[in-house]
């Protein structure tokens, strides 16, 4: 018998038992599609956060108070430590030149903004003018915080695009309107261009900016909490970080501050996101398993009928290998077709979902889910055939 005859036998059998074929494929489709989709969400999340981070400016070095070790955690000390930075340090960093382009002090706190009876809780950041350059923030309307605003502690505020929208809607012009923070009135001086991105993690478009001096007074602080140091270019980031460290050590102790490069932060965050992807992968694996059990179920339920069928085929003269080849082709065709449909559905789902959150289909999820489903499909498709092919035809015919 040549192979095309076997194919015809198998395809006829699949067509004759449509419901069984479809249900088996459904198990494979669900398993494959869900793994691809869920893993694409995890990978997309990772890509999204990475891109958000680099949009902050990848030449930036962060100086944080206290000792922070990203690998070993805070070792029992509180994460928020009292800052010992002086504005003098920032001025010196700006003067030193070399690998350092500029430095900017910051203080950040969560606070409630009110206007027109609307109120929003947003990150309020006290800044110098140069922070807008370092973090690539540009104004959509009005002006950014000027260094003269800082010098005179003016009560001006620059709103992130989302916060402007939330407080004033899309109709009203927020410029020169008044917003209050703890009863203190600020004038809106500018609204920032949107940084884009969805609602995962910190939304940069919610942040609002006020002059650092005003912020220190408003929140009753005396020292900036963070210093951003911008290196000349990507290549000089390490130099900038060591120059910064050396300069600060002249006045402060080793344990008083930590200099972090962006890539260190990024790798820590990616580690965390990797765990999320793994968790999503775990959920997907469960659906793969459920799909697999579905396949087994249908295959096992049809064993009785199929055993009789095999008995009959043997009685009318099918040689043992003919039975096996037919069942193998059936299982392979179901697994292949189901797998391909699953891959298509999973990918289409990921593409559709990317309108809401970023997704990215990864090859390993496709390969893994497809091969697992195909394995289950083939094993449980062929197992009854192997068993039944060993029975003598009459026993198989009478199988209950």
């Amino acid at each position: 018998m040549n192979i095309s005859v076997y194919f015809k036998l198998s395809l006829n059998s699949l067509r004759a038992n449509k419901i069984r074929s479809i249900l088996t494929m459904l198990g494979i489709i669900i398993g494959v599609a869900s793994v691809i989709l869920l893993v694409s969400i995890g990978t997309g999340l990772q890509a999204y956060v990475t891109s958000q981070f680099t949009s902050l400016g990848s030449n930036v070095v962060f100086v944080l108070p206290g000792k922070v070790d990203l690998k070993r955690g805070t070792q029992g000390r509180p994460l928020t430590q009292v800052s010992k930075f002086e504005l003098q340090d920032v001025a010196e960093l700006n003067r030193i030149g070399g690998p350092i382009k500029q430095a900017s002090p910051m203080i950040q706190t969560q606070g409630i903004l009110r206007a027109h009876g609307e109120s929003v809780s947003v990150p309020i950041i006290g800044v110098w003018e140069n922070v807008f350059d370092i973090r690539n923030l540009s104004v959509h309307a009005g002006k950014r915080i000027a260094q003269s605003d800082v010098e005179r502690s003016r009560k001006v505020i620059v709103l992130g695009s989302d916060t402007a929208k939330n407080l004033f809607g899309t109709e009203e012009n927020p410029l020169n309107q008044t917003v209050t923070i703890n009863e203190i009135r600020y004038t809106v001086g500018g609204v920032l261009e949107s940084k884009g991105g969805g609602g995962i993690g910190a939304n940069l478009d919610e942040q609002v900016y006020i002059p650092l001096s005003t912020a220190l007074r408003q929140f009753n602080q005396s020292k900036p909490a963070i210093i951003l140091v911008e290196a000349l270019d990507q290549a000089s980031v390490e130099d900038a970080s060591s120059v910064t460290k050396k300069l600060l050590l002249r006045r402060l102790k080793e344990d008083d501050f930590t200099v972090l490069e962006q890539k260190e932060l990024l790798s820590t965050i990616n580690q965390f996101l990797g765990t999320i992807t793994l968790a999503l992968g775990g959920i997907a694996a469960i659906s793969l398993l459920v799909g697999g059990i579905g396949i087994m179920n249908i295959m096992l339920v049809s064993v009785t009928e199929r055993t009789r069928e095999i008995g009959l085929r043997k009685a009318v003269g099918a040689p043992p290998e003919a039975i096996l080849i037919q069942f193998l082709i059936e299982a392979v065709v179901l697994s292949l077709v189901g797998g391909i449909i699953g891959i298509l559905l999973g990918s289409i789902g990921a593409v559709l979902l990317s309108r809401v959150i970023q997704t990215s289909v990864s090859l390993w999820s496709v390969v893994l889910s497809f091969s697992f489903s195909a394995f289950i499909g083939i094993v449980f498709g062929v197992a009854p055939a192997i068993r039944a092919a060993r029975l003598d035809p009459i026993t198989a015919l009478r199988y209950e």
């Binding site: 018998m1 036998l9 006829n12 004759a16 085929r313 003269g317 043992p320 003598d392 015919l397």
Partner: protein
């Protein structure tokens, strides 16, 4: 029952000649099923000689047995054993597929055979759309489509009403008159009387062998 030796047939000697219509009769457990399995090349004897069409097949492989079943034996079962979701025509074509007959000839021969059993107008019907008698006639067409040397029928009327049963038995008579060798296995003496020779089995041995 594993490990316990069970002797189903002992000292049985039976020769069937071409063109005979023979009934094998006996109560259940008498060994008539085992005898039928041997005659039908579904099983080989543990001891003794089984020869078929002038060849000793006592010790041949399961693959060769399958070939003999395919080419030289036609089975008719009590339960019809048609493939449920497959048309009458495809059911009859099935043995020809395993005989490597090409598609066109397969179809022609299956149609001719279904016409012979009076089902020319039911080619594309599924078994569920046919009466019991019609299903058994499809099964007979399937058994005969390979032009076998013998037609082996196991309680062929057991699942039929008396009228359909009568029709099937008449069909067997007609086939026998046309030269087919028929072996009918039954427990019912009334049906056995259709045959020209009746072999009675009891406790694994032949107790009588009468020709009409």
């Amino acid at each position: 029952m594993e490990g316990v030796e069970f002797v189903a047939l002992q000292d049985v000697s039976l020769t069937v000649s071409k063109g005979e219509f023979i009934a094998i009769i006996g109560p259940s457990g008498s060994g008539k099923s085992t005898l039928m399995h041997l005659i039908g090349c579904l099983d080989t004897p543990t001891r003794g000689i089984l020869s078929f069409d002038d060849a000793d097949i006592s010790k041949i492989s399961s693959r060769d047995l399958a070939r003999i079943r395919n080419q030289k034996i036609g089975f008719v079962f009590q339960q019809f054993n048609l493939l449920r979701k497959t048309s009458a025509l495809s059911n009859v074509e099935l043995p020809l597929i395993y005989a490597n007959v090409n598609a066109k000839e397969r179809k022609d021969r299956a149609i001719a055979m279904l016409s012979n059993v009076g089902l020319a107008d039911k080619l594309s019907n599924f078994p569920s759309q046919l009466s019991g008698g019609q299903q058994q006639r499809v099964a007979i067409a399937r058994a005969l489509v390979t032009s076998p040397l013998i037609l082996l029928a196991d309680e062929p009327t057991g699942n039929l009403d008396s009228k359909s049963g009568r029709e099937i038995l008449d069909m067997f008579q007609e086939l026998n008159q046309n030269g087919h060798t028929i072996i009918l296995v039954t427990h019912d003496m009334n049906i056995a009387r259709e045959a020209k020779r009746i072999v009675q089995i009891k406790d694994g041995s032949i107790v009588s062998d009468k020709k009409k």
